[in-house]
């Protein structure tokens, strides 16, 4: 995390030399204390930031998901409602048990489709976080500079940090770009090869059922969205 590189930077040039020169050992202690205090401050800030960030986007995410979930699932509801109407019609008119069980099977199939779609709607959201990835890379100590080696040229250091930050920024940009496009791609693929085949089958079966019942095919007109 950023405090690894931020903390050493905190002391201005020559601070250690000017102020704590007489007691070198003590300065190490003070230095350590300072570092841990600052690390704590960064962590506190991080926690506060998480809460604040979450508070801002939770509702936004909820509204987005809600709209999407409602728009997709309503089509399955309509099919389910239509089949239920046919089922109750059959019960009223004492149609054959074979037809009734056929409708029941179709209703079950719609339920399965619906559940499948819902599961995938929910699962498209978790995506790998660039921040997490960078964290784990940094935890591997690849970019970490040990406090004892701090005497190296300050200016050079700063440039390194800047580059590092720049790199991180670019990295996250690229990665999130990739995320989005692959996500979209995933989604359309899902639509293409999971929903349609079984749904088409259900719709075909429903159409033939409607004919068997001697009901006008207009009854399925409102399902055109599927």
């Amino acid at each position: 995390m950023s405090w690894f590189r931020a903390a050493p930077l905190a002391e201005g040039p020559g601070e250690e030399g000017d102020v704590f020169d007489e007691e070198a050992d003590e300065s190490v202690l003070v230095h350590r204390e300072w570092r841990s205090h600052m690390q704590r401050r960064v962590k506190e800030g991080y926690r506060d930031g998480i809460d604040a960030g979450k508070a801002v986007t939770l509702q936004q995410g909820f509204n987005q998901g809600y709209k999407e979930g409602a728009e997709v699932i309503i089509n399955y509801g309509q099919l389910r409602g239509t089949l239920s109407a046919l089922l109750s019609w059959c019960h009223l008119h004492d149609n054959s048990a074979a037809l009734i069980s056929k409708i029941n099977n179709l209703l079950d199939a719609v339920g399965q489709c619906e559940e499948y779609v819902l599961r995938h709607l929910k699962s498209i959201t978790p995506q790998p976080h660039v921040v997490d990835l960078l964290d784990s890379i940094q935890d591997m100590d690849l970019c970490h500079i040990a406090p004892a080696e701090e005497k190296i040229d300050e200016a050079k250091d700063e440039r390194f940090y800047e580059n590092n930050a720049e790199f991180n920024k670019n990295c996250s940009k690229n990665l999130s770009g990739v995320d989005c496009s692959s996500l979209k791609c995933c989604r359309t693929q899902e639509r293409a090869h999971s929903e349609s085949p079984s749904l088409t089958w259900i719709l075909e079966q429903t159409a033939s059922l409607v004919k068997q019942l001697g009901v006008s095919i207009d009854i399925l007109q409102h399902l055109k969205q599927l």
């Binding site: 960064v42 998480i50 009901v215």
Partner: protein, 137 residues
């Protein structure tokens, strides 16, 4: 004296600066976490409403077709209730979670649906699977 004053300020400032730095990082992370979490809840709730409204809608449209051509007095009563239910459903903004009368309207639609079922003398089973999907209503 002036030097130590500066030092003191620098320390206080650093405190703020480090907090701010962590905050920035946390804010970004929190934003994306909130988005994901919110979407998951939202999808479930939206799907639940969509499924229920869709059922009523499909049921009502289908029955309108089935009753087509029936002209007894009782049938016209059924038709009236049916049309009123369809009207309510079409006005209902089912995909808008910010709609303030969502529950009020939903309850009215449910009531109308029950009235229709008793008029039609049917007991529809939408077969909403209770387990897992969380779509039961």
């Amino acid at each position: 004296m002036a030097g130590s004053q500066d030092m003191f300020e620098a320390i206080v400032m650093a405190d703020e600066r480090f907090h701010g730095e962590g905050y920035q990082e946390g804010y970004e992370k929190g934003s994306s976490l909130g988005m994901i979490e919110g979407r998951q809840y939202g999808t479930l709730h939206g799907a639940k409403i969509g499924s229920e409204i869709g059922c009523y809608q499909g049921f009502a449209f289908a029955w309108r077709c089935l009753l087509h051509g029936c002209t007894t007095e009782k049938d016209s009563k059924k038709m009236k209730v049916l049309e009123s239910l369809i009207g309510m459903i079409q006005k209902f903004p089912y995909d808008d979670p910010t709609y303030d009368k969502l529950h009020e309207d939903l309850d009215r639609i449910r009531g109308k649906f029950k009235q229709l079922c008793s008029l039609l003398n049917v007991h529809p089973d939408f077969k909403v699977s209770a387990e897992g999907s969380g779509l039961s209503f």
